[in-house]
Symmetry: C2
Subunit: 496 residues, 2 copies
């Protein structure tokens, strides 16, 4: 059953023999439909619905939210409107907020959009924003995020031709800080010992309470977090993977701005988190860019000519390297012998692609393209070292996780990749440089945006709310920074 | 358990080993206390409570409302405040709104006040107000009623020295029309065939939703009605009487502006309603007044001298006759032989008290008291006829009720009297003129304001909410106006 449900009712006319009130008669039918005795209405909705009820000739569609043993009515429409039943899934990314407008009747995605989180104006990275929040900026950050979300509501509705007040449910996942800011809660405590959030399990709220411009009483489910470092976005990804449904041990690699991994099965879940992302994000490599149109996302280097070829997102003129292009490039440089296993260029191998940029040697993917204002795109040893550090962190983290439960990597049956980088990375290249564990390719499953996918699952089947809660309660967090062997593992993993 | 509950918690400090959020840690303790897993908070309350939580050194008192399998937190205070736990019971009378401020810890009544319903400015009687409502006056009537209620909150709080935001629960009973107006619902449909209210069973709301100026998230229980003619005030009275707890058959006589009676026991309930009150109210008898200071409430006539003596409420100078004084006077006139059984004066009996007023003979209770501006107080045959009509309506209604279930009046074990007249009427005089059935005096129990009493019961024990719902669902309404024998019974009962 979806997060909101629509019921078509044919309400018998009042008569002298039946003293039930107008609302009580509707509730009677809802009880017959659902078996639920306890039916709540906001009083404002009773008042605003009366004209609709009275002019409907008894033919009504009631939208309600089922929550345990009670049903809350959230909208009343005249006639049979069951085929207009929509929800929105939202991923509160630190950089990009993504939304999918879903037809709750068919399960179809009607529109899928992303928007830069307007909070970036207060700081590209999360730490800057958290600092701003702690200086009294919570409400500004909340407004910025809400503006972004409401813009996405607007865009997805417009592109689907659906009025926003027809969206009768929302499901939202974000990291712990984003979730706090969305709710107007000061996330400062998250970043200071003992690293405790204000709240992990947020009650189901309604749209008007949180300022979301959809049907005012629409239920808003917000994924629970499990402490400061494991956010609702990760819980949502775990839910989406189905990892907790199987006896087999699986691994979820969520590689976004933060890198998180979860190892486990239906009985146990072990997670760790670290700053995996920056090396793969716009911020680190010199020619890096977000995965947007024009970003180089695939690179191949001819082993004979040592000349590169590449593709860009949407086939637009190349503007930079996104994470997957960077990983491809490193894997290819290594494969054709232009890079050694310590991450140093093999300059003895001759190619016209070696060029000096700012006193350092770079491998040129494009030349200066005068006239069209596009910069040259290249890769330096420093870029490679950054990626290798990320890779080392991932490998060390995975090793710690595996060792903690005493299993070998071969016992991991499925590897789900998610997060903004997980979507684009080539498993082959990622395995080649050691970012992904060396397992048969058929064990890798690309989830895409796991956070959004889990949010979508809850929209279409609200029983997943309990499952999300179970996951958040069950997951054990392993703090890598205090782990005795992590640093050794990290140092020894800084090679391809 | 009271409608709201207070829990004193000693919340352990956060540590690196416990990633529970600040709110989640409180919820954990609440779950330990109550066994309830589902704990909701309004998001605004989380935000506004954080400074309290953080400055409390872990010692907190949480006020919450338990509702089935969930608990809604409504307030957080620093330290142990369990001894400050208050609720307000309110009777939405058409003429007078009454309120009692209750200490929910001890059950003590801290303050009890009444105020004229400010709606009277739109019409003394209900029908005039309903007409005004149907002309778009709903919100004005709602505001007037709310002003009266909030004034009572203010008065009772001031007289008890309690801040109004310490009132964490309210329980409200009123007739169906008053309940509608309190909620801002147009009651017009109540008075037109098929006489169907908008809603009988109102969900539990909170104070800010309805505009009550107590703790904003305090739960507001509103007694359900059972159709247009049996209001929440009557359901509340039935609850207060305990009539539905016994196998013995009992009768509830609610004699306010409307007269209602309920016959039944734990298995069945039969009710009827009619305009019993007007004859006993300020509106009908020439010298009548509401039961307020100065109203003559007891009358004795000396059988030898035929001279009257009387008492007034609060021993103030006599200003008029209230219902109980009127009933006493009639009973005494009949008893000393100044009145015959048809309600005519026996003028052959000589007394200086007979005087002609406006061309009609009256029995003078007081003479013109020049100098102090007080009018003479007397009683006319017309006044007596009015009371006898009311009495006839009561007798006929009771006979119909008894006949419907085939029992005799002697089988009625208890007679509960309630309503604004039920409080003051002398059972002896009421039996003497036939207003009350002829039963041993020890079967009569004065409930007082049954509506307020039932509201108080719910405040102190919220399990009565379910009982009130059961009563409203179980009660059967007998429509007297369409009853074939009612008019005959009425005509034959117009004698003392």
């Amino acid at each position: 059953m979806a997060l909101s449900s629509k019921y078509y009712l044919e309400v018998p006319a009042a008569s002298l023999d039946n003293n039930k009130g107008e609302i009580d008669r509707i509730n009677s039918l809802l009880e017959d439909f659902t078996g639920i005795k306890r039916i709540d209405w906001p009083i404002d909705l009773i008042i605003s619905s009366l004209p609709v009820i009275r002019s409907s000739n008894g033919q009504l569609t009631v939208t309600a939210c089922r929550d345990g043993d009670r049903l809350t009515v959230i909208s009343v429409e005249s006639g049979d409107t069951r085929s207009f039943h929509f929800g929105i899934a939202i991923d509160l990314g630190t950089t990009v907020v993504a939304a999918e407008l879903i037809d709750l009747k068919t399960g179809d995605t009607l529109s899928s959009e992303g928007e830069i989180n307007a909070q970036v104006r207060y700081g590209e990275d999360l730490l800057t924003r958290l600092h701003f929040a702690s200086q009294g900026g919570v409400n500004e950050l909340k407004s910025a995020l809400l503006d972004t979300i409401n813009k996405l509501v607007d865009i997805t509705c417009k592109s689907s031709g659906i009025p926003s007040n027809q969206i009768s449910a929302a499901s939202i996942a974000g990291n712990t800080s984003m979730t706090h800011l969305f709710l107007g809660l000061d996330p400062s405590s998250i970043r200071h010992e003992p690293y405790v959030p204000v709240v992990n399990h947020v009650p189901v709220l309604n749209a008007s309470e949180v300022g979301l411009k959809i049907l005012p009483y629409a239920p808003i489910f917000i994924f629970p977090s499990s402490g400061s470092f494991l956010g609702g976005d990760l819980i949502s990804g775990v839910l989406a993977s189905g990892l907790t449904k199987s006896e087999k041990i699986s691994l979820l690699l969520d590689i976004g701005t933060n890198g998180e991994m979860v190892l486990g099965n239906k009985d146990w879940l072990l997670a760790c988190a670290g700053a995996a992302g920056p090396a793969l994000e716009g911020a680190v490599a010199e020619c890096a860019t977000r995965a947007k149109p024009g970003a180089i996302d695939r690179v191949v280097i001819d082993p004979t000519t040592l000349e590169p070829s590449f593709s860009t997102i949407d086939d637009k003129p190349a503007i930079g390297l996104c994470g997957s292009g960077l990983v491809d490039a490193i894997a290819q440089l290594y494969s054709v012998g232009l890079l050694d296993s310590t991450g140093r260029f093999v300059l003895e191998k001759h190619t016209t692609r070696w060029q000096k940029i700012n006193h350092r040697i770079a491998y040129m993917l494009t030349e200066e393209r005068t006239g069209n204002n596009l910069p040259p795109i290249y890769i330096t040893e420093k870029d490679i070292q950054n990626v290798l550090r990320t890779k080392a962190a991932m490998v060390a983290a995975l090793t710690v996780l595996l060792n903690s439960v005493g299993i070998s990597i071969e016992e991991v049956q499925k590897v789900y990749t998610a997060g903004s980088f997980g979507i684009h990375l080539s498993p082959e290249s990622s395995i080649a440089i050691g970012l992904y564990p060396k397992l048969p390719l058929n064990r890798f499953i690309q989830l895409g945006n796991g956070s959004l996918l889990g949010a979508r699952r809850v929209l279409l089947d609200a029983s997943n709310i309990d499952e999300a809660k179970r996951i958040a309660d069950k997951i054990t967090y392993l703090e890598l920074n205090v782990h005795p062997t992590f640093m050794n593992l990290f140092r020894s993993a800084k090679y391809i």
